[in-house]
């Protein structure tokens, strides 16, 4: 899970983003137990306090939850993850079309290009 | 904790002194062997060299015991190593006591090594008799027992050396309070402190003399015609004074150390 950080943005915010991708892509599945804060911190090579803060943020977004003694788990509600995935996909798609628009390509052309690349 | 500190101080000293001890005894042995060989011109020359080497090593042993005590004191309290020394969970008094005891032990060991070397090189019935006779003439002249004479001489030599080394310690402590030329100041303060200590001892003997006419005679007469009684009293009084001065000086050292250090 070696990742590089942008020092300009708070580390915990970047960790939240990385974790979201992991949840969406199914690295951690619905209802699955998450590694401990310490293990995460060691893997990401970040300060455990920062990792704690990132997980707290995810928890406030209801994407993960804490079982009192057992540790942290991914939410059981698939819908939440699906929703997150949807939001991400839309953001990515929007930025694609915006980029194409900037170089003067309309909707139809843009889709064509998508298909071409995907072949 | 003093015993743990002492363990490392003694290890350091033995690492640095061993070579002189070994060489002193080695040249004492060669001297002895060469003396016992059939004499020829070449053997004669070699044995002269051996004698020279032995005495050089004896002098080295003596000087190094003193110098190494100072160097160890300065290095571990004021040089790079002090970064460890002062961050160990020990008191400044313990640090000082360890250095002081190390100095006592090593001067004693060096003294024994020197005696052993001389004994190996020169012991023979004739020499032994010559020495004992020589001592006897002194002791009968002074009307004291040989044992008393030898013990007092050794004690006073020891105390004098301990005092000198400790004056060096205090000199190092004072010198390192200065902001520059710490080494120069250390030597300067060391010498001054030593002279002051000697002056105080002399002054105290003089004050004692005010109450004891036999001792007072020493200050009045120019001749070396020591009164028999005076020698005994003087020996005891001055060793007591030495002990007092050494004690006061070590209190001073600890007091100064406890004020805190400033390592470069």
């Amino acid at each position: 899970m070696e990742i590089t950080f942008d020092n300009n943005i708070p580390i915990y915010i970047q960790l939240v983003e990385y974790m979201k991708i992991y949840l969406i892509s199914g690295v951690f599945k619905c209802g699955e137990k998450l590694p401990s804060v310490r293990d995460f911190a060691t893997d990401f090579k970040v300060n455990p306090n920062t990792m704690q803060k990132a997980l707290a943020e995810l928890e406030s977004l209801k994407l993960i939850y804490t079982e009192r003694t057992n540790g942290k788990y991914v939410t059981k509600e698939k819908k939440l993850i699906e929703k997150l995935k949807d939001e991400y996909a839309i953001t990515l798609a929007k930025s694609y079309f915006q980029g194409m628009k900037r170089i003067g390509l309309g909707k139809a052309d843009s889709i064509k290009y998508l298909e071409r690349v995907n072949e | 904790m003093v015993n743990k500190l002492l363990k490392y101080d003694l290890k350091y000293m033995i690492k640095n002194m061993a070579i002189f001890y070994i060489l002193s005894i080695f040249f004492a042995l060669t001297t002895r062997i060469l003396f016992n060989m059939e004499q020829s011109a070449i053997i004669n020359i070699i044995s002269q060299i051996s004698v020279g080497c032995m005495f050089a090593m004896i002098v080295n042993t003596l000087i190094n015991t003193i110098m190494r005590s100072w160097i160890r004191f300065r290095d571990s309290l004021y040089k790079d190593e002090s970064y460890l020394t002062h961050t160990l969970p020990v008191t400044k008094n313990e640090l000082y006591n360890s250095k002081f005891i190390q100095m006592l032990i090593f001067f004693f060991i060096s003294f024994i090594i020197i005696l052993i070397s001389l004994f190996i090189a020169y012991y023979s019935k004739e020499n032994w008799l010559a020495i004992t006779n020589y001592i006897k003439t002194i002791t009968t002249g002074l009307n004291i027992s040989t044992l008393f004479f030898i013990t007092m001489t050794i004690i006073i030599i020891f105390l004098e050396i301990f005092n000198a080394i400790q004056c060096g310690f205090l000199g190092i402590i004072m010198g390192n309070k200065m902001n520059n030329s710490k080494l120069g100041y250390s030597v300067f303060f060391g010498v001054i402190i030593y002279l002051i200590a000697q002056a105080i001892i002399l002054l105290l003997v003089f004050i004692y003399g005010l109450f004891d006419s036999t001792v007072m005679e020493l200050f009045k007469t120019a001749t070396i015609n020591i009164d028999v009684k005076a020698f005994k009293v003087l020996a005891i009084v001055s060793s007591l004074l030495y002990i007092l001065i050494i004690f006061i000086m070590s209190m001073l050292c600890k007091k100064e150390l406890n004020k805190g250090v400033n390592i470069e």
Binding site: N7, N8, K45, N47 | K4, L88, P89
Partner: protein, 234 residues
């Protein structure tokens, strides 16, 4: 106990020859944090660290660790890595390990041996035969093998190769626990800022800023390194 300050510095001043090197330093450091003590060379970082470690005597002011004045009790809980080599070079590495075990109750010799092995260092070797870099690694392994309340690392990253730098950061992180705090002084901010909870900026003998690292990034929308450069026009 929990709200007792780990390190408390009150109006601390230090002068050499009437030259003020530290001016009215006030700092509070609690447990469970990695703190960057950041400043240019000569800003006063090392002076401050040496004062905390009893290697310098304050001109005025007070330093308390766990509420106690600097002394035997505080030295038991502070693990300090100086910016120079400070071990007696006549010793072998394993002898130094023994020395640490003799004096520090919280020293874990097995861990030290493990770290030294990971760093490819031979414990049978004489320190004289080691390069300065190797000696520094030995020191780091020793210092990190204590279970102290406060670790103070003075410029642990200067002059090391990138691989070692990563190893050092990993060692610091994997050793870190909630009960302890780590103060890392450095002028190489970008290398280290991702692991910092808190930053202290020190300049011309004064503490100019103490803040949470992420809060500062959020506020200034820039990296700590950049904020520092802007502030001191470096």
């Amino acid at each position: 106990m929990s709200n007792m300050k780990l390190l408390e510095i009150k109006s601390l001043n230090k002068s050499f020859d009437n030259k003020k090197v530290l001016k009215d330093i006030n700092l509070n450091i609690s447990s469970g944090k990695i703190i960057g003590l950041l400043g240019k060379n000569g800003a006063g970082k090392t002076t401050l660290i040496k004062l905390i470690n009893d290697l310098l005597t304050p001109t005025s002011g007070e330093i308390l660790i766990n509420g106690k004045k600097i002394g035997v009790e505080t030295k038991k809980v502070v693990s300090y890595l100086p910016e120079r080599t400070y071990l007696n070079k006549q010793m072998k590495v394993f002898e130094v390990i023994k020395l640490f075990k003799d004096f520090y109750e919280d020293f874990d010799d097995k861990k030290a041996k493990k770290l030294l092995k990971e760093l490819d260092l031979d414990i049978e070797q004489h320190l004289t035969k080691m390069s300065k870099g190797m000696q520094e690694k030995v020191q780091l392994a020793l210092v990190m093998s204590r279970k102290a309340d406060l670790y103070i690392l003075d410029e642990p990253l200067s002059g090391v190769d990138p691989a070692t730098r990563d190893y050092i950061l990993d060692t610091i992180l994997s050793n870190f626990n909630e009960k302890a705090s780590i103060i890392i002084s450095t002028h190489l901010i970008s290398d280290i800022e991702r692991i910092l909870d808190e930053v202290i900026f020190i300049d011309k003998g004064k503490v100019v800023l103490q803040s949470s690292a992420d809060k500062l990034r959020n506020k200034e929308k820039a990296s700590i390194d950049e904020i520092f450069r802007r502030m001191f026009k470096w």
